[in-house]
């Protein structure tokens, strides 16, 4: 009986405690930098698209919400012809970001993308591309890859040795 009364009193005191409710539209929750929200496509430091159209994100996606078509420019640099993410299907699992070999696709801390029209949730490449390097500043895939695609000559990349002249016998 006494413990019941004590319980009631302690619960009553909660009237004056600080409330945990975050009143959302006025007061926003603090999101962590690695929060998995809206998906973006980033650019490399030189302003080119990072995406090389390898389809790994589309394969990794468990709900098949990513569609793209790879193509090449005159220098042999691959880029997506179109890149489409259907956010009404996306489950924000981040597998696409994990799969991406060039840090192009990234999830950012923004979840406020509710819409009345389902079709508005299908984002095209123009909607996805941002003018930023995202979480990996200074990284340019074509500067570390061996491939020559108009960014650097063969043998001039980072940590890349000069091409070996296979016709010479000198060491």
């Amino acid at each position: 009986m006494i413990s019941h009364l004590r319980t009631m009193w302690l619960v009553f005191l909660h009237l004056f405690k600080k409330k945990v409710t975050i009143e959302y539209p006025e007061e926003k929750a603090e999101l962590h930098p690695r929060y998995r929200g809206r998906i973006v496509l980033t650019k490399d430091p030189d302003g080119g698209e990072r995406c090389v159209g390898c389809y790994l994100c589309a394969v990794a996606c468990p709900v098949d919400c990513i569609a793209l078509q790879a193509t090449e420019d005159e220098n042999g640099r691959r880029y997506p012809d179109f890149f489409r993410i259907n956010f009404s299907r996306c489950i924000f699992c981040g597998y696409c970001e994990d799969a991406c070999p060039t840090y192009a696709i990234q999830l950012i801390p923004d979840f406020e993308m509710a819409d009345y029209n389902r079709q508005n949730l299908v984002f095209e490449k123009e909607d996805l591309l941002i003018d930023s390097q995202g979480k990996y500043p200074g990284y340019n895939f074509y500067r570390v890859a061996g491939l020559e695609a108009g960014v650097k000559k063969k043998g001039e990349g980072e940590n890349e040795e000069k091409p070996v002249d296979v016709h010479s016998l000198l060491p």
């Binding site: 019941h4 009631m8 302690l10 619960v11 009553f12 909660h14 409330k19 945990v20 409710t21």
Partner: protein, 318 residues
């Protein structure tokens, strides 16, 4: 009292009561939220009071579904009984001098009879639903009501002995010098416990225990029929609080700087708040614990209280 005055009182009491019962939706949700460190509904209207309107509209527009396996007419009748019987009990409660619908000589007996009739709604609702959970809830409700009805009546007998009347107005008048909660503390506590069981509020919401019986006797109800059970429960809280105030806390009596009706309402809302606090803080006992607690402990205490009160009353009269 002229006929028009009487009709005004009846309509006024009905209007205020139904509004209090609806308003308690908001009061309960806000208070429960505050006691659980939340804010509760605070968006619709000032402080969220329009949630009452939203809830009512929602209930009205929901599909009013009568299951094909239900006993149709009994199914419809059951929710009306709970509201009807509780509203009838309010007939005898004196809200302030002159504001009482029917100044019956047998007020307490009438209240007990009407609150006992309320059990029919649970039993009929559970039976007509033709659902095993509803039936189990109805069975529990019936046995709980029978058990706690006994103590409810017996706990009031001390008050009746001291005031010498069954009329609630006379009982309030008899508390002019001293509230009965001082002379009948045991009676008050037992009436309060029995009142919780009678309105089947938490922690004694055994007939509708969500975690065991889905929703108990009203599992099959939807729309405004469910709303009637809902309103009936809030009316029940108001009724038990009003009875506690009238019988043990001096009804409308209070210092003269506030009108009698204001004192009644203040005390009423204090006890309604206490009911909600009980819901926020105490866990539900097991069914057999509740029943054995009632018959083995409370019955003994209430009979002893009756005996001692009777002896003292006799001794005082010499």
């Amino acid at each position: 009292m002229s006929a028009t005055e009487h009709i005004l009182i009846v309509v006024g009491v009905l209007f205020v009561l139904l509004n209090i019962a609806a308003g308690l939706i908001w009061v309960e949700r806000r208070l429960l939220a505050l006691w659980q460190d939340r804010l509760g509904p605070n968006r619709a209207g000032p402080l969220g009071v329009l949630i009452v309107l939203a809830d009512t509209l929602k209930l009205f527009f929901k599909e009013d579904w009568i299951p094909p396996f239900a006993d149709k007419w009994v199914f419809i009748l059951a929710p009306a009984i709970v509201v009807g019987s509780v509203l009838l009990s309010f007939v005898v409660i004196p809200f302030a001098p002159g504001i009482v619908v029917a100044d019956l000589n047998i007020g307490i007996l009438f209240f007990l009879a009407m609150s006992s009739l309320g059990v029919y709604s649970i039993v009929l609702g559970g039976w007509a639903s033709n659902n095993k959970y509803a039936l189990l809830g109805a069975l529990r409700g019936a046995s709980q009501m029978i058990a706690y009805e006994v103590f409810m009546g017996l706990s009031l007998m001390g008050v009746v002995m001291l005031s010498g009347s069954f009329n609630l107005g006379d009982i309030v008048a008899a508390q002019q010098n001293l509230w009965f909660v001082v002379t009948q503390p045991v009676g008050f506590v037992i009436f309060f416990i029995a009142g919780i069981a009678e309105t089947h509020r938490l922690p004694f919401d055994i007939p509708e225990a969500e975690s065991e019986l889905i929703a108990g006797y009203h599992a099959e109800y939807s729309g405004m029929k469910f709303g009637m059970f809902f309103i009936g429960e809030y009316l029940g809280i108001t009724l038990i609080s009003a009875m506690i105030v009238t019988l043990f806390f001096g009804g409308w009596l209070g210092p003269a700087f506030l009108p009698p009706l204001a004192w009644f309402v203040i005390k009423l809302f204090f006890f309604i708040g206490l009911f909600i606090l009980l819901r926020a803080s105490l866990p539900r006992p097991r069914y057999d614990q509740l029943i054995s607690y009632g018959w083995k402990i409370i019955l003994a205490i209430v009979l002893a209280n009756l005996l001692i009160t009777g002896a003292i009353a006799l001794w005082l009269r010499g």
